[in-house]
């Protein structure tokens, strides 16, 4: 038979001789196939040791096929390795563990690669690819072919059946009473008190509706573990998996250190044959939603459930693995590459980041914001910066030779990003494609943003610090050439930040006026650069600590089209209470109405009235407590604090009622009068609204307001009362 449909899932189980594929057929049916698939890992080392390994493997019960073959190490070039081929992919992890423990001195390759990536590379398919499968009567795949590519802006979207289940309250905050279940046009509640009715209801729905996606809130950390527990107690299995026979996949919670921060990942529950996505535990869900997750899966080759829960670098890493697998480049199990020696002088010159200038503080009019488009990835692709490619003599010249692994991996991603950018610029906001394009573009952008950091990451298999340093060096050179181009054309450069600059010239007000400059920069750098927008006015803010000191990346302004751009102020900070962030944005909206900077003082009465109203509401207790929550991360284990931060104090309160908070997790709390001064939000007893420290919130609000008014010389505290 020949079936066409979208590839939903690829995995292996203990009893399959290869992989299992689930397909959402164009005819609306869900198909399950099996496909024999051999997986191989490679070993390098001294000949006697490899011979010993050969003998060891032959004596194992699991049948393996051994051979000597030649493959390419990215740095060392072609080398002879021992190939160990396994016919049941599920066996590989166990076998490998045994081998690596018995022979720890040998070098291993292609040992810990996700089965879905292996399959994608081998058969040139990818998650959600529209495939044509030819199978026999036993649903054994004979041939599979993708009919589209991951690089399409607007792929045909499969008609997914989505079942949404969420508790009626945040389980961390209060015990939920019921589950709200919805699918298609159906919506109903299941009370949690009767486990039997609950399981019965869900069983029926799962069987009848047979969803492709189970979308939950707190599903990973609370809901699914609870359902599994209840199902076990009731001795009534819940068909969460579509795949018969197998159990769901559990992953433990953990905190890990990344980019100077501790990141917390909650436990995960993943399904086989259908997807479970927990909105609360999905990376960047608020940013790009389901469309973005599906895009991530398509482009990275990672299955949807993994793509949804991506940790930084995993997506890019997967893409690099795909490139390597397709080209027969060995993927090392551990990164061995160390830095080539540099003199202390060279280290002084190489070890720095992007150029960050001090802006000219204050109010400026008719300022153009221009940015290099995806500067670092653009540099990697255009100038062929890759761990295995020797660096060119001069900055901003392409390194000669074939494109390296990294540029090859990034090139299609970068191209897609540029295509999205121009597509979005031409689409109207009401076009049905706008939101999905935005979501997909966001997913792509996120991957591109990560790839630079990943290049320098110590554990990145194909990372190399020299390549990372080359990218920043080229970036600095590009920014300086842009500055020179601007100054040659008599522009004033108000500010520069890594990959963007803010320029001004008396006679330039429209986009056309800046084209000459953009073209000059393109010529000088070889990189694409675009106009972010022209600000009617923009304010670069000084330091709060010392008004003499300008601060990079802290500004607010209004574009000519009326949109607001804000960086670094309270409204942008994660820990600001929503009440204050909202007020700031509302103030900005008032200021945005002024046709130009000269009319800003006219806005003052409206701003004053807004702030007065907000203060009155605050004093009258009309602001919902949720809007007053401060949200901060715990930066370390509680006992490691010498003086506990407010977040730590809130976490201590939670610990006293048995709620554990891990480093990297956020705690939410209210500011209260007297001691301890904070009240953790997720305590079982709700806080007394009368204890809220109104005066402190008022002060925070006024300070946030001053952020705007002072630099605009509109500051006149008296009129606010």
């Amino acid at each position: 038979m020949i079936v066409t449909g979208w590839l939903l899932d690829v995995f292996t189980t203990e009893i399959t001789n290869g992989v299992v594929l689930w397909l959402l057929g164009e005819d609306g049916q869900r198909y399950r196939f099996e496909h024999t698939f051999l997986v191989t890992f490679y070993v390098a080392g001294p000949p006697e040791r490899l011979r010993a390994l050969w003998r060891f493997l032959q004596s194992q019960p699991e049948s393996v096929r051994l051979s000597r073959t030649e493959r390419r190490d990215l740095f060392a070039g072609p080398m002879t390795v021992l190939a160990v081929e396994v016919s049941r992919p599920a066996v590989l992890p166990r076998l490998f563990q045994m081998v690596s423990q018995a022979f720890p001195d040998l070098t291993y390759y292609d040992a810990d690669i996700h089965i879905a990536l292996r399959y994608s590379a081998a058969h040139r398919v990818f998650p959600l690819a529209l495939c044509q499968i030819e199978a026999d009567e036993n649903s054994e795949v004979k041939a599979i072919q993708a009919l589209d590519t991951p690089w399409e802006l607007d792929p045909a979207v499969p008609p997914l059946r989505i079942l949404t289940i969420e508790p009626d309250t945040d389980p961390g905050h209060a015990a939920p009473a019921q589950l709200i279940v919805s699918y298609d046009r159906c919506r109903y509640s299941l009370p949690l008190e009767s486990a039997q009715a609950l399981i019965a209801g869900l069983r029926a729905t799962l069987k009848r509706y047979d969803p492709d996606l189970l979308l939950t809130t707190w599903g990973d950390t609370w809901l699914l573990p609870l359902l599994q527990k209840l199902s076990k107690e009731q001795n009534w299995p819940l068909p969460l998996n579509r795949e018969p026979v197998s159990s769901v996949i559990h992953r433990k919670e953990h905190s890990y250190f990344s980019y100077g921060q501790i990141i917390y990942r909650g436990r995960q529950v993943c399904l086989l044959g259908r997807w479970h996505i927990d909105r609360h535990n999905a990376m960047l869900w608020d940013d790009y939603g389901l469309d973005g997750v599906l895009e991530m899966a398509r482009v990275t080759g990672l299955p949807v459930q993994d793509a949804a829960r991506l940790s930084p670098g995993t997506g890019i890493s997967s893409m690099q693995f795909l490139t390597a697998l397709r080209q027969g480049i060995l993927i090392p199990w551990h990164k061995h590459q160390a830095e080539h020696p540099k003199t202390a002088m060279e280290l002084l010159r190489a070890d720095m980041g992007g150029m960050i200038y001090q802006p000219i503080p204050g109010l400026h009019r008719d300022v153009a914001g221009i940015d290099f488009v995806s500067m670092y990835p653009g540099i990697m692709v255009r100038f062929n910066i890759s761990p295995e490619v020797p660096r060119a003599q001069d900055d901003l010249t392409p390194a000669p030779g074939y494109p390296g692994l990294v540029p090859q991996t990034l090139a299609p991603l970068l191209k897609k990003r540029l295509e999205f950018k121009s597509a979005l610029a031409s689409l109207s906001r009401w076009d049905a494609r706008y939101k999905p394009y935005q979501a997909r573009a966001s997913a792509n952008k996120w991957l591109l943003v990560t790839c630079f950091g990943y290049l320098g990451y110590k554990n990145a298999r194909f990372g190399r610090i020299e390549a990372h340093e080359a990218v920043t060096a080229y970036g600095r050179e590009a920014l300086l050439r842009a500055k020179e181009a601007a100054e040659e054309l008599d522009f004033t450069v108000l500010h520069m930040y890594v990959d963007g600059l803010w320029v001004q010239r008396a006679d330039c007000q429209t986009p056309r006026d800046f084209q000459e400059l953009l073209e000059a920069i393109r010529q000088k750098t070889g990189l694409p650069i675009a106009l972010d927008g022209i600000y009617r006015w923009i304010v670069f803010l000084p330091s709060k600590v010392d008004a003499r000191l300008p601060v990079p990346n802290r500004y607010f302004g209004i574009f000519q089209n009326g949109t607001i751009k804000v960086r670094g102020i309270e409204a942008r900070r994660h820990d600001t209470p929503p009440f204050i962030a909202e007020t700031q944005m509302q103030i900005l909206e008032i200021l945005a109405r002024a046709p130009d900077a000269d009319h800003l003082p006219d806005c003052l009465p409206a701003v004053a009235m807004l702030v007065k109203k907000k203060i009155a509401s605050l004093r009258a207790g009309r602001i919902p407590l949720e809007d007053l929550l401060v949200s901060q991360r715990l930066s370390r284990e509680l006992q490691k604090y010498r003086t506990p931060s407010p977040a730590a104090r809130a976490a201590i309160q939670l610990a006293r009622v048995g709620k554990q908070t891990n480093p990297g997790q956020r705690v939410r709390f209210l500011l209260t009068r007297g001691r301890p001064g904070i009240h953790s939000w997720d305590l079982p007893k709700p806080p007394d609204p009368r204890t809220v420290d109104i005066e402190r919130y008022e002060e925070l609000l006024l300070r946030a307001t001053q952020t705007f008014l002072e630099p605009l010389a509109l500051s006149n505290k008296n009129c606010l009362f």
């Binding site: 980019y259 100077g260 002088m345 280290l347 002084l348 010159r349 070890d351 720095m352 980041g353 150029m355 960050i356 200038y357 001090q358 950091g453 320098g456 990451y457 110590k458 610090i465 990372h468 600095r476 300086l480 520069m496 010392d546 003499r548 000191l549 300008p550």
Partner: protein, 87 residues
């Protein structure tokens, strides 16, 4: 992520800190003037970083001198304008 060398801002703050004893022994009004000098050096940290001198303090001194000179030029222009108006 592989950064070993302190950032130019950190290097600046360390240099400023190394003059803490000197600053303390100055009169209050002189302290304010010294603070102004350091603040003016902070205007040019990006260039100081890019310069990548082995001894960044030398670059910071040059920054302070740069700002002083700009001020001199500004004052000179102002004085010339005032004198021109008088005639």
């Amino acid at each position: 992520m592989g950064r070993t060398l302190p950032s130019i801002t950190q290097a600046f703050l360390q240099e400023q800190e190394s003059f803490a004893r000197f600053r303390r022994a100055l009169r209050r009004s002189d302290q304010i003037a010294l603070d102004d000098l350091f603040a003016s050096a902070r205007q040019h940290l990006a260039a100081a970083g890019y310069a990548a001198h082995a001894l960044p303090f030398e670059t910071f001194l040059l920054c302070m001198l740069l700002e002083e000179h700009k001020e001199v030029m500004r004052l000179r222009q102002h004085v010339e304008q005032l004198l021109a108006r008088k005639e």
